[in-house]
Each structure stands twice: as C-alpha cells, then as structure tokens.
C-alpha cells in the first residue's frame, strides 16, 4: 500500500519556513483534507508533498524512499497534483488536456498508446465529462472546466492525488460531483489529499482532517473530532454552533 509521510518537515519560499516541523503519515485509501485559514500553509504543504517545493529541512518519504532521491519523471507516475484555479493558457480541446496527464508514461517520440487512450477515456468518464471531450476548454463553464482539470489529474493513473482547492468557485452540484469523484478514487485505494475551505463538504466526505494554523499542525483526526466549535473559533474567529457538520446537499 502507498504510504506518504513527512518527518519534521520545514518548507517555504526562500529561507523563511511557511510550514514548520510537520510530521504526518498518510496511507492509500484515505481521503485527507488540509484545512486552516488563508496563509496557514495548506498550499505550501501540498506543494512540498507534490515535490514541487524542496524541503528546507526534514524529509518527505514515498513508500519509505525520500522524495529527494526520486527523479521527477518517476515521481510524476506516482503523484498527480492539481493547482488551485487551474486552467489552460491556450483554448485546447478538453480531451487533449486530459491526455497531458499521460505525459509521465509516454516514451520519447511516441504518440499515445492504446493503454493511454483507455486511461484517458476512463478518466473522462470518472470525472463525468466524457460528453465534453471534444469541446474547446474556453467554451466550458468554470464547473465543467474544473472537472476537466480533475480528469487530467486522474488520467495520470497516480496512486496519490494532491489537489489544491478542487471545489473553489464551483456551484453546489459541481462541488458534490467533484467530491464524489474523489471519494470513488479513494474507494479504489488511492490516497487523496485536498486543501479545502469548504468545511461542510470536508466533514461529509473526508476520513481525516489536518488542521493547520500558522504553518503548524493544530489538530489531526476525523472531521467530527477536529472541526469543533472551539477549534474553529480559535483559528478562523468564526464558527457554526456545535462545530462543522457535513453538508446535507444531494445531487438529484
């Protein structure tokens, strides 16, 4: 099983750490949320986990092997990362964007193999955007766009998905669709880690929440135990009475 762990991780830009002394362990089949106020280090931690930010000190290990010793091309097969409000600079066709997720698997000078085509079709299907495959990305709504980007992440075939605010700026139906797609991946044994502000969605779908404040882990555990009224007041200066409860919305 996939294990991703950090040991006394310090990461940030330049020499000032944004996350400090973070020691965590995640396993395949878990749905993890990184929560906390703006600037608490969620995105930085996610980028460090994705290998996009070199740790200032401490270690990140993937299946017991330091991420630093893993070449980028190899790492990309195991981990997929989705940036916040990701999009495409050029008005590419949705299917071609999803195909970019196969880049780590392509051999030099070869085009997409039948295996790649299968992975692309499956990713489009799992993200629920097969019907948009031939559309140009600039003709899609932000909800549809976000789900195409999600399909791109799934097409990588990685056992670890790291997504920075995958539900930001989406309407309720697209929010639920994205979370359910991710939940289905978790059921397949994938480790999914998201940075999120939509705490009612987190409370409903995630197995575990890592609460960050000022770059330090404040609490970690099941949503019910972590997203409590007192923790919310302490971190956000605002809270729902009785703590965050899972959203009751359903797709109909």
């Amino acid at each position: 099983m996939t294990v991703l762990e950090t040991r006394l991780l310090n990461a940030g830009y330049g020499s000032t750490p944004i996350v400090s002394d973070v020691s965590l362990e995640f396993k395949g089949g878990q749905f993890i949320a990184l929560a906390g106020p703006n600037g608490s280090g969620k995105s930085t931690l996610l980028k460090a986990l994705a290998g996009l930010l070199r740790p200032q000190s401490g270690q990140i290990c993937l299946d017991g092997k330091s991420l630093r010793d893993t070449v980028p091309g190899e790492r990309a097969k195991h981990m997929a990362y989705m940036p916040p409000d990701g999009g495409s600079v050029w008005p590419l066709v949705a299917k071609r964007i999803v195909a970019l997720g196969r880049a780590p698997h392509l051999k030099p000078l070869r085009d997409l193999s039948p295996d790649d085509e299968v992975a692309i079709a499956s990713a489009l299907d799992r993200a629920g955007v097969s019907h948009l495959a031939e559309r140009s990305i600039d003709t899609l709504s932000s909800g549809e766009k976000a789900r195409v980007m999600l399909a791109r992440t799934l097409a990588t075939g990685a056992k670890i998905l790291l997504l920075d605010e995958p539900t930001a700026a989406l309407d309720p139906r697209h929010q639920l669709a994205v979370m359910e797609t991710l939940q289905a991946e978790v059921m397949r044994g994938t480790l999914v880690i998201i940075a999120a502000h939509t705490l009612d969605l987190v409370a409903r779908y995630c197995d575990s929440v890592v609460l960050l404040g000022d770059g330090c882990v404040i609490a970690q555990g099941p949503p019910k135990a972590v997203l409590t009224e007192s923790n919310m007041v302490e971190l956000f200066g605002a809270a729902p009475p009785g703590g965050v409860s899972g959203t009751q919305w359903k797709i109909r």
């Binding site: 980028k47 994705a50 290998g51 996009l52 980028p72 091309g73 190899e74 790492r75 990309a76 097969k77 981990m79 997929a80 990362y81 989705m82 940036p83 990701g86 999009g87 495409s88 600079v89 050029w90 008005p91 590419l92 066709v93 071609r96 964007i97 970019l100 997720g101 880049a103 780590p104 392509l106 980007m149 791109r152 990588t156």
Partner: protein
C-alpha cells in the same frame, strides 16, 4: 485539418516559394532555356543559394517564434523579445565597426552567433536559473535594450559615413549577399537550434497548464528553459548572422498557424518552421520584384512594415479578450 495534411500543404507552399524565388524578378528565362552559361551561373551561384538562405533563415525564425510563444505562454512573444536578435545584431555590428569583416570571411557570422550566445547568457544571469516566465520576458527586454544601446553607440562613433551606412544597411536585413557560404553557415546552426526546440515540444504542451502542473508531470523546467534559450540563440543567431535583422516572422507565422494545430504549443513548432521558411522566401521575392533599378527595398524593412501593423492588431485583440 489533420497534422499530416497541414505539413503537406506547407511543404507545397515552400515549393511555390522556392520556385518563385529562383525564377521571378528578372531572371533571364529565355537565355537559360537556350543553355546560356551566364544564366546558368546566375541560377547556380546567385538564385539557388539565395533561395536556400531565405528558406533556412525563415524556418529558424518561425520555429523559434513558436517555441518562445509556447514557453512564455504568450502570443506576443517573438525572438526579438528575449534579446537574442539584438545580441546577434550587436555582435555583427561590432565585427563591421572594427573592420574584422575585411580580415576574414566568417567574422560577421561568427560575431553574430557570439552576440546571440552572450545575449542569451546575460539573460540567464539576470533572470537566474529559476526565474518565472514573466521575469524572463522583462530580462529579455532589458538585454535587448542594452544591446541596442551598444549598437547605437558604435554607430555614433563610426569613423566615416561609409562605415555608418554599411552598419545601417546591414541592420535593415536582406538576402542580397546570400551565397553558398551563407548557406553553409546558417544550415547547421539553424538545424541544431530547431532540433533543441523540438525536443521540448511535450514540455511546452504541459506548460499550457501552468508551471506547477508541468513540473508535477515530471518535466525539469530548468532544463527546458536552458534548451529553449540555447535553441533560440542558435536558430535566430544563425539567421541574423547571414541575413541581418529580419523581424516579425517569428511573431506572425505561429499566430496564423495556431488554429490548425488545435492551439497545441508543441505541435506548432514544426509547422511554424515550414511556414516561416515559405513566408520569408516569398517576402524576399516580393521585395525583389518591387525594388526598382538602383532602388533596393530591404527585406527587413518590408517584413517590419507588414509585421508592425499585425502586431498592433494582435495587441488590440489580446487586450479585448483579456479579463
């Protein structure tokens, strides 16, 4: 249009450009048909090398333009923007100014390539190895400004009007001096440059989704940047070395062809190289036809006159589309 059909169409355009470059604009067709030696000489020693130089230089400019637009993720990028063209220009002008050109035949091309390389190196020094695309654009503008200032300084101090006019005419860009020597110089440099750019086509595709996504897909962006800068220096420097400064080909061609490759940055490089070859060659033929006796129209002036309004139009539409 499928990719193969696009390539075939562009190859066809190149054949038209090549044939018109050989036989248009005052070629003594009747004499040649009659087997006249002078006509054969004109064809073999003037027309053929001129045709090849035009195609090769255009291919370098078009391919480099496409690669840069893909790398910067900006349709306004052009080989001129990273300062490589100005660097190459400064190198060549230095050789002309100090009279090296008279000392040995390869002085001007060698100096142009050296200038392009130095411009690219300076760019990397200013921007640093981990610079983002925006920083690189700004650094490119700075390097270009520095090179242009130095060129202006040399023209300022030029010892006599002849030296000044030699520099000025050279900077306008033309294929008037194209011989087989120019082909020999430009071909290997530009081919190597285009090869370096083509290696990165998948990375350029991935960069459409942003630098973080591209890095997460396993692309080493530091290496990509080095290859793009080196490839551009060779493809553009090699062209400036033999034809002077010919602008806007690298801007216009990728923009016209982008829709035929479904806006995919990597797949745009090869068609743009072919399109650039055809466009530069056709533009050269057109300027020769328009040039009167003793009144030569310079190729670089013609492409600038056509390219600058296109650039303005592009800025207008880009501004209107931006949020």
């Amino acid at each position: 249009m499928s990719h193969t059909r696009l390539i075939i169409a562009l190859l066809g355009l190149n054949i038209i450009a090549a044939v018109s470059s050989l036989f248009a604009a005052g070629f003594p067709m009747a004499d040649w048909m009659a087997g006249d030696d002078a006509a054969r000489m004109i064809l073999a020693e003037l027309r053929l090398p001129r045709m090849f130089t035009g195609l090769i230089v255009g291919a370098g400019l078009g391919g480099a333009g496409a690669a840069l637009q893909g790398y910067f993720r900006n349709p306004l990028a052009d080989p001129g923007i990273v300062g490589v063209t100005s660097g190459a220009g400064l190198g060549a002008v230095t050789a002309l100014y100090f009279g090296f050109a008279g000392v040995f035949a390869y002085a001007v091309p060698a100096a142009a390539i050296l200038g392009a390389g130095l411009g690219a190196l300076l760019l990397l020094l200013i921007a640093g190895p981990r610079a983002r695309a925006t920083t690189l654009i700004l650094s490119g503008v700075a390097v270009g400004a520095l090179a242009n200032a130095m060129t202006a300084l040399l023209m300022n101090f030029s010892p006599n009007p002849w030296a000044l006019s030699e520099i000025a005419y050279w900077l306008m860009g033309s294929l008037n001096n194209a011989s087989w020597t120019e082909v020999q110089i430009a071909l290997p440099l530009i081919a190597a440059g285009l090869a370096l750019l083509l290696i990165n086509r998948r990375a350029l595709d991935a960069l459409s989704l942003g630098e973080d996504t591209a890095a997460s897909l396993g692309f080493d962006l530091g290496r990509v940047k080095l290859l793009i800068v080196a490839g551009t220096a060779l493809a553009v420097g090699g062209g400036v070395a033999v034809a002077g400064a010919v602008g806007f080909v690298g801007l216009v061609v990728p923009h016209l062809l982008r829709r035929f490759v479904a806006h995919e940055a990597g797949r745009l490089i090869l068609p743009s190289a072919l399109g650039g070859a055809a466009l530069l060659s056709l533009a050269d033929t057109a300027t020769r036809i328009m040039s009167g006796q003793g009144l030569p129209l310079y190729l670089g002036v013609a492409t600038a006159l056509l390219g600058a309004p296109f650039f303005l139009w592009l800025v207008r539409t880009a501004a209107r589309r931006a949020p």
